[in-house]
Amino acid sequence: MTQKTMHTSDFRPLDVQAIREDFPIFAETPPLAFLDSAASTQTPRPVVEAMDAYYDTYRSNIHRGIYRISEEATDQYEKARQKVARLINAPRTSEVIFTRNTTESINLVAYSWGSLHIQQGDEIVLTDLEHHSNLVPWQMLAQRTGASLRYLEITDRGLLDFTQLQDVLTEKTKLVAITHVSNVLGTINPIQSVIDAAHAAGAKVIVDAAQSVPHFHVDVQQLDCDFLAFSGHKMCGPTGVGVLYGKMELLDDMPPFLGGGSMIRSVERDISTYADVPAKFEAGTPSIAEAIGLGAAVDYITQAGLASIHVHEQELTKYAHERLQEIESITMYGPAPHQKAGVISFDIEGIHPHDVAGILDTHNVAIRAGHHCAQPLMKKLDVIATARASFYLYNTIEDVDRLCEGLQKAQTLMIRRNK
């Protein structure tokens, strides 16, 4: 309930113009219409400044130096961990592990937790909507152990088919790996129901939150998920830092993922004992500047307000749906605007998505075209590739208008000729 109260109280409309001034990349005229934040976001000044401050004034390694700037670096690195823990409402700060990105977070679980808990005959449940990062690590685990994969499928509208859930979840199910928001269709999955059903079946749940944590409030205690993974670079943070949240009771039992410095308590010639969580999972010198930058990014998006960001993106998505529908021969994939995040995958008959993106690029509009690291989903949709526009807090109605103008120009160029 406290969380709900916070949602409403932190809502105020975004001051998008003020936000845009924090992003030097939008300073040119006409500005870049950047519609590919689902791949990676832009970086605001405060994030770069936080990393610059580290490099310029207290650059040093963490957790070992007996001197002032090393203590400062350690302090800032650990403060970033606290900020991330607060963002997702983790019960303990030590349940937040810094990794390189979502992919590494998921691989950590697949290797470490997987080696302990997955055996021949076990089943891992995925969905049709998974990004390769939440699919390939489980294929590899299944191949190592003799476990098998099962899929919860989607309906024609791109929503999970819950009528299958009870069939897919069996006493063999040990893990459910599910994305919170589809990076292709934007579908916001009702993961609370999946988590509850999985737990009732005795399975653990890992949530790929790469497309949700940056865009709306995610509360790991409310969800009661066992693991949750996301990336810094999709939430205004730098590349090279990601997060794994896990329940302490699980993390505590798990063997290390990578061995090396920092993750040990003591090392002898033949055997070592390991440090406590989270250090046990952070072997070697981590991405210190990037973790500090991620901390600044958490400050940035929470100051803007996650509820405000979500509402802003929904408005853009609704507007974009209306405008895009005016375009001849367009197919939009996925659910209706109110059931999804700020991601629109589409296809224009007669124009290859690469050409759509190429022509838009000549109008300084950046979108993604391709299979979006979700080849099984592309196959399901029976398309080779799609074009995809995605929104974040700095996007405007004008960006959407320029997308539509660019698409109309692409049509004039290509379709006219086909006739």
Partner: protein, 129 residues
């Protein structure tokens, strides 16, 4: 708008040598894993000379136009001459500057040709020596 200049669009719209051959001496098909574009090349060889060539597949303007241009270029050439076609030759042929991702679109047809005719794997210009 130089990326979509007229010549490319003409090839895309009315590709040369589009289709398949009934009894090809060489037939090979590959896709570009980056985007899923797929091209097949059929060749009829007589006395080491490419007598006939067809291509088919699906892809963007650049990959299909480059394939069309390549078929025009190789018809009547010897296999040795064709083997020596380089990445740079394709770039000259396409005639517009391309970023690293779109370069692969332009090179797909040559990659398919070289894999089918000579068993050369990898992207032209990046082959293992």
């Amino acid at each position: 708008m130089n990326i979509y200049q007229e010549e490319l669009l003409d090839h895309y719209e009315n590709p040369s040598n589009y289709g398949t051959l009934p009894n090809p001496d060489i037939s090979h098909e590959e896709d570009n894993p980056l985007c899923g574009d797929r091209i097949r090349m059929d060749l009829l060889i007589e006395d080491d000379i490419i007598k006939e060539v067809r291509f088919c597949g699906h892809g963007c303007t650049i990959s299909l136009a480059a394939a069309s241009m390549l078929t025009e270029k190789i018809k009547g050439k010897t296999l040795t001459e064709v083997k020596n076609i380089t990445r740079e030759d394709i770039m000259d042929m396409v005639g517009i500057p391309l970023g690293p991702v779109r370069v692969k679109c332009a090179l797909l047809a040559l990659k398919v040709l070289k894999a089918g005719a000579y068993g050369i794997k990898g992207w032209p210009g990046e082959e293992e020596q």
